[in-house]
């Protein structure tokens, strides 16, 4: 793919000043993400994968290097509402129904009432929650809540979707199902997705590109371009091709730990 990168990071550094001295959360991270790519960030805790995503979202400020989102600084991109962010927890407001939760960003961004209505219905359909708009979050299962939070991030049609371990708290059966759904959703919407995960199969199954990271300091150890086809049924995970990529991810993770 020879497009202008949607997200481009060059020698990005982020050092947190803590009571025990500086901690290098990100060190010399360079990466390009093209339009429509599905990029997973995988690595052990403390490798900076979430921190990198937060830098892209302008929720953290890098201390060195450069980072652009849609050709703008992350701060400008945030103000231009260039991305939807899905957090680890669904974080739905308990005092709002599902439909009203999804409406929250639309209210803030000043969409008209009719437009809000239409968009809420569309994204509810997209995440397979049509008919649940009037329910309160506690009436839904964890998986459904997380789908609602994805719908909320999709509702205002940002081109970029940033997901920070969105399925981390769910059981494996629900997770498999949501992974499949997410791929379909990605195919339908053509969004650029940044996806943080702990799980090797999840990363390999979902991604067009897998970024393997390691801690102390947080850095990229390998970037794997997936050779899997666009169309991915769940049983693709038993093919030799899939296992080979998974093996390479595992090697990358191990390399990062070599001197521990």
């Amino acid at each position: 793919m020879t497009q202008v990168p949607v997200i481009e990071s060059k020698n990005l550094d982020l050092t947190f000043e803590t009571a025990d001295g500086p901690v290098a959360a990100l060190k010399d991270v360079s990466l390009q993400i093209g339009a429509g790519e599905f990029v997973s960030f995988i690595g052990p805790s403390g490798c900076g994968k979430t921190t990198f995503l937060r830098c892209v979202a302008a929720l953290e400020e890098p201390t060195g290097g450069s980072l652009t989102v849609n050709g703008m600084s992350p701060e400008e991109a945030r103000k231009a509402r260039a991305y939807g962010y899905v957090f680890q927890a669904a974080g739905l407001y308990p005092w709002r129904t599902i439909a009203k939760n999804i409406r929250l960003p639309l209210e803030i961004m000043g969409f008209s009432r009719a437009e809000q209505e239409e968009r809420v219905n569309r994204v509810l359909e997209l995440v397979d929650l049509a008919g649940f708009g009037g329910k309160y979050p506690w009436q839904l299962s964890g998986g459904m809540q997380q789908r609602a939070s994805i719908a909320r991030a999709l509702s205002f049609d940002a081109d970029i979707l940033l997901m920070d371990e969105p399925f981390g708290a769910l059981d494996e059966i629900v997770r498999d199902h949501l992974n499949e759904e997410l791929l379909k959703l990605w195919a339908r919407t053509g969004k650029t997705i940044g996806f943080v995960t702990h799980s090797i199969p999840e990363a390999v199954y979902l991604s067009t590109k897998i970024v393997v990271m390691s801690p102390r300091p947080g850095r990229i150890t390998d970037v794997i371009e997936s050779t899997l086809p666009q169309e991915r049924p769940l049983d693709i995970r038993d093919t030799p091709e899939f296992l080979e990529i998974a093996h390479r991810v595992r090697d990358g993770l191990r390399a990062g730990h070599a001197y521990d």
């Binding site: 103000k79 927890a89 209210e107």
Partner: protein
């Protein structure tokens, strides 16, 4: 329904203990009166009785026990006396009469409600300021805490004197003392409530590029509702205490506080106790009303079932 029996047993035990406790409390006067009326009592010498313990005297004069429950000015009135006085001063009096506890209760209630409204409004405003401004957090909070360490009995007369000198009398000074007591729980609860959403919630709104006021109206305020109501229940009870304390130092002639005061001037213990019970009933009713509004509001918000 199964809880009725245990509750009834506890209440009966308290009432029984109360009647028993009234015997030694009132026995000296009961024995003296009985002797004057010509009854046989032990010991016969008044001086000797004065030097005796109340329980010992009660043990030696069981015939006078029932007398200790029927005195006009007992040290400790018994439940049926208090209930009779409550009945006499509410149901059997015109509500506008100065003999009526309804009248006095209304005077205190109006000051309580006005004070509660002022205190709650002030508390919420201060909490909003404290949450949004670091300077206010550091400057207002210590004063709010310090204000509650001053005994209200010490500051109430000063508030009344100062306001009186500028011509403000009647309900307003009492309401201000009442607000002085009730704003604090509201500030503390509301600050906690407005800060209760976790960091992720604030990050989420940041990704929408939401303004401070949007964050306030859409996140902080609704999240604070359960905390606010918990504070309001404490606040309304504190308001009532404030209104009553505000009636004490002026020698006011109206209100439940005035009722307590005149009762103590003239040794009318039954009147004091009935005013105390009226106060407790009023407080319970006010808290119940706030609790009812809380249930309805939280249910409407989807926060309670």
């Amino acid at each position: 329904m199964r809880t009725i029996l245990p509750v009834a047993v506890v209440v009966a035990a308290i009432v029984a203990f109360w009647y028993l406790a009234a015997i030694p409390m009132n026995i000296h006067f009961a024995v003296t009166s009985a002797q004057r009326a010509g009854a046989e009592v032990t010991p016969e010498s008044g001086a000797e009785r004065r030097n005796m313990g109340a329980i010992a005297l009660a043990a030696r004069n069981p015939a006078q026990w029932t007398d200790s429950w029927t005195q006009a000015k007992p040290r400790l009135p018994v439940p049926h006396q208090v209930v009779a006085e409550l009945w006499r001063t509410t149901a059997l009096q015109h509500p506008a009469s100065k003999q009526s506890l309804v009248y006095h209760g209304w005077v205190t209630l109006s000051a309580t409600v006005v004070g509660f409204a002022i205190g709650t409004g002030l508390g919420i405003l201060l909490a909003i300021g404290i949450v949004h401004s670091r300077a206010m957090d550091m400057s207002v909070m210590p004063w709010a805490i310090a204000s509650q360490t001053i005994p209200i009995l010490a500051i109430a007369p000063m508030i009344i004197v100062v306001l009186n000198s500028i011509g403000v009398q009647g309900l307003i000074p009492k309401a201000i003392i009442s607000a002085y007591l009730s704003f604090f729980p509201v500030v503390v609860g509301m600050v906690k409530g407005l800060r209760s959403p976790d960091a992720m919630q604030f990050d989420l709104l940041k990704t929408y590029n939401a303004s401070r006021s949007e964050t306030f109206w859409k996140l902080r305020l609704p999240a604070s509702a359960p905390y606010l109501f918990a504070s309001l229940k404490v606040g309304i009870a504190a308001s009532l205490v404030g209104a009553i304390v505000g009636e004490l130092p002026t020698g006011a002639s109206r209100g439940l506080g005035a009722r307590l005061l005149t009762g103590s001037y003239y040794g009318q213990t039954v009147q004091i106790w009935s005013a105390l019970f009226a106060t407790a009933i009023l407080a319970a009713a006010l808290v119940a009303i706030v609790a009812g509004i809380e249930r309805a509001t939280l249910k409407r918000m989807g926060l309670a079932t």
